[in-house]
Symmetry: C2
Subunit: 89 residues, 2 copies
Amino acid sequence: MGLLDYFRNSGRNRGSASVAKERLQILVAHDRAARDRPSYLPKLQQEILAVIRKYVDVDMNAVSVNYEQEDSQEILELNIVLPDAAGRT
Amino acid sequence: MGLLDYFRNSGRNRGSASVAKERLQILVAHDRAARDRPSYLPKLQQEILAVIRKYVDVDMNAVSVNYEQEDSQEILELNIVLPDAAGRT
């Protein structure tokens, strides 16, 4: 199963009966050949968030961050619940 | 299976025998409550790439982009093969 299928299914499974929420999920996976170099993912995360805030209001309390490192792979996950479109002008 | 597990497994399945490649995979999934608004994902993609290029050399020929839209969900996928760390100074 491709990663796009995964996302697609996760969207579908929430069902049409659930309240539609604006939601943004960002994943950054870094396969590192050189493990001795310092990771730039935490810094990248800050900058990506800054870029997103140009487009949508992001309440920093509505951002959940998950960072995992295993072997030579790092994964950064950002889950952002956006304010209801109806509430924006 | 969580999304992090998916990434973790995909990393593991490449096996230790394969040549280690620096690789960056970025996924942005947007669940849109208000479908009438124009999408900002293509614009976001450009800006995220610009941010990444601050940290690593990105050959634009080594970037593959996948954009899909279905119902109220948009998914943007960026796959970037980074230059070998050994080749950098």
